[in-house]
């Protein structure tokens, strides 16, 4: 279906809804709203499953899910490779972004009904791994599509809108699953079936409404291969990747942050499952305003500033003598603000530095660098936590983050030629 599309019906042959009303300030193009809707719907689907999975494994199947996290390292490495591959493949033939993204979304959608058929930990683990592979495959091409669908001047806002929609889906998913389980106690099969239907709808919206071919020229395969290798030789890409890795190395993973938060602020145990919701709510509310701010003040600057919000959150956790729900909500707001100021903004900043024909690969390289660095950080942080305790480990992470931020500020000094374009 999308093949017919990509050959170009009148309303998609233009670079992806780039032209909006002439003379009006460009709002977010339709293509971004379409991709945002796809992400929203897909996140509803996947977070439905994530929300009920522990209960399903323990309560329904009677499995002991301990040690499930042991393979995380393997998954993470594999997912990084898949992400690079997704970016690379999507740049071939002058823009197969939609096709690769569709394969990624499709793979994840197929995994939902498969969950109905497997009942042992190794098989469930395999299905979840396939699901994540789909996620790895689609991220870079989808971000490439977003960046190619809008004017460079409003990229921050476009990514902000996309991330807000994505997060809204992540918040709605668990709620949907809860409603189903309330209607049908123990109805995990219903949750998985509905999740599969929702995921299928997401793929369909992508195929029907997302822009097809986006890049204009079709470079020869050989030229492109060399160009991918040359990506990191571009000073702007190299600097951005360096900063993403440096800062990623000192970004403590969400689960550790929540653990520290609960322990330092002495929150009641029943608060623990609610902490991710606080971050997500702040991310949802701040993604668009901060994306717009990034368009105005410079994306790389905001990317850095976002890490200062994270540093402030660390600081509050380290210095707080004991806590209150109010302090917890400040920390979670800073954490959500950190995501809002860095997640979509990094993609927008990357798009600034990478030419259109290499957009998918460029996004994949920077995002993979960041993800790999964060994974290393969580290993190191886990070790530091065990050896020194949570406060000292967090102090070390904060010191590292301060140093990384200072180095990044040096690396990302406004390049006069580029910044003038803003």
């Amino acid at each position: 279906m999308y093949l017919a599309d990509s050959r170009g019906t009148p309303d998609t042959s233009r670079p992806a809804g780039r032209a909006t009303m002439p003379g009006r300030r460009a709002v977010v193009p339709g293509a971004v709203l379409v991709l945002g809707t796809v992400s929203l719907v897909t996140d509803v689907s996947s977070e439905m499953v994530t929300a009920v999975l522990p209960l399903y494994l323990v309560g329904e199947l009677g499995l002991t899910p301990l040690g499930f996290g042991l393979l995380d390292g393997v998954y993470n490495g594999f997912s990084a490779l898949v992400r690079l591959l997704g970016g690379r493949l999507s740049d071939r033939h002058g823009g197969g972004h939609k096709a690769v993204a569709a394969v990624g979304y499709g793979l994840s959608a197929l995994c939902k009904p498969l969950l109905l058929t497997v009942h042992s930990l190794p098989l469930i683990g395999a299905v979840l791994a396939a699901d994540r592979t789909g996620k790895g495959l689609r991220t870079a091409p989808r971000d490439a599509l977003i960046s190619l669908s809008c004017e460079p001047a409003v990229r921050g806002r476009a990514f902000g809108v996309h991330r807000a929609m994505d997060t809204a889906g992540a918040l709605l998913g668990p709620l949907t699953a809860f409603v189903i389980l309330r209607l049908a106690a123990g109805g995990y099969d219903a949750v998985f079936t509905v999740s599969g239907c929702v995921a299928a709808l997401g793929v369909l919206i992508l195929l029907l409404f997302a822009p097809g071919r986006t890049a204009r020229a079709t470079p020869a395969a050989e030229r492109q291969r060399r160009a991918v290798r040359g990506l990191l030789r571009r000073p702007a890409v190299r600097r951005l990747t360096c900063c993403a890795v440096l800062l990623g190395l000192t970004t403590v993973s969400d689960s550790f942050l929540y653990l520290t938060l609960q322990r330092r602020l002495e929150l009641s145990e029943s608060w623990f499952p609610l902490l991710p919701l606080g971050t997500a709510a702040a991310f949802l509310l701040l993604a668009v305003p901060l994306g717009m701010l990034a368009d105005r003040t410079g994306r790389r600057r905001l990317f850095l500033t976002g890490h200062l919000a994270l540093l402030a959150a660390y600081g509050l956790l380290i210095t707080s003598p004991g806590g209150s729900p109010a302090l917890a909500s400040v920390v979670l707001t800073l954490h959500g603000g950190f995501y809002a100021a860095t997640d979509g903004v990094l993609a927008a900043a990357t798009a600034d530095a990478v030419p259109e024909r290499l957009r998918g690969s460029g996004l994949a390289v920077v995002q993979t660098g960041q993800a790999a660095a964060r994974f290393l950080c969580s290993l190191a942080f886990g070790a530091a936590w065990t050896a020194w305790g949570d406060r000292t480990a967090l102090t070390a992470a904060a010191a590292g983050l301060a140093v990384s931020a200072a180095l990044s500020a040096l690396l990302l000094r406004p390049d006069p030629a580029q910044e003038q374009a803003r």
Partner: protein
Amino acid sequence: MTRTHRLIVLLAAIALLGAVAVGATLHAAGRAAEKDRTQPGGPEVRPGPVLLDAPGRTVFRNMAWGPHRDELTSVPAADPGGARTASGVRCLRFHSAGGTGVCLQAVHGKLRDGYRALVLDAHLHERHRYGLSGIPTRARVSPSGRTVAWTVFVSGDSYAGTSFSTRTSIADAASGGLERNLEDYRFFLDGRPHRAADLNVWGVTFADDTRFFATVATGGQTYLVRGDRRERTLRSVHRNVECPSLSPDGTRVAYKKRVAGVSSDAPWRLYVLDLRTLRETATAEGRSVDDQAVWRDGRTLVYSLPGAYGSDLWTVPADGSGRPRLLARAALAPAFPAG
């Protein structure tokens, strides 16, 4: 395809997928409603007073379908298959000793479900209440009834997805004081201090109010540990031990052992460890047991196996002799007050 065509395709798909989704939910809802109806041939269940320290009575979670599903029920210890008296208190996990009960239950909220632990007196009145951060899995009361422990599964967070860990807490039944997480204790592996990020503790079984046994997992290996609340230490005793249960005389531990060469779906067998000689004895139960067994007396183990209504209770001699016998259908988490 024109825009209109695409919209038609989309609407048709929404109608179709919506129908499948609604159908699946209705089907599951019908099945759930079925569980609230009493099944013919099931045990007789009547509401009535349940006492935790009544001699000659056994208390467990009733799993039989009907209005009293999941409630604590009592039966005559001599006739566990007989008529059940339902207390109205719903628990996922339960244990009692010395006139104190611990009940881990679900709390159905408006937007999400949570869990809590209740410390109950002998009349099932609530003495203390604690919010839980995850799904209940194990619960135990010390022989004196003054100390309780429980374990929950905690899943990291919604972005990380699939990593799970356990959290084990101990509470003082009188004062209500809580030790949130036994992972804060110092762990000694073969006598040497051992620190690890992947440490998990679960399945406490009490010797008295300060000393207990439990399982520690780290580096893909499980250990039986001796715990001390005064020293705040956990010391490894033996390998490959999960969900220990201390015998009434304190000399043996019944536990689930992961055995080699069987299906990874059903890897555990019920064993008994002699704490003086560290000699392991396999029980006559050949099926995989995923439960923290209970000693009915000094010679007999009671444990849960999957059954038509979720769980049945079985017994087997602790010395490796005899054979497994069905104790009660549709039951889970028993406690035997007399011993």
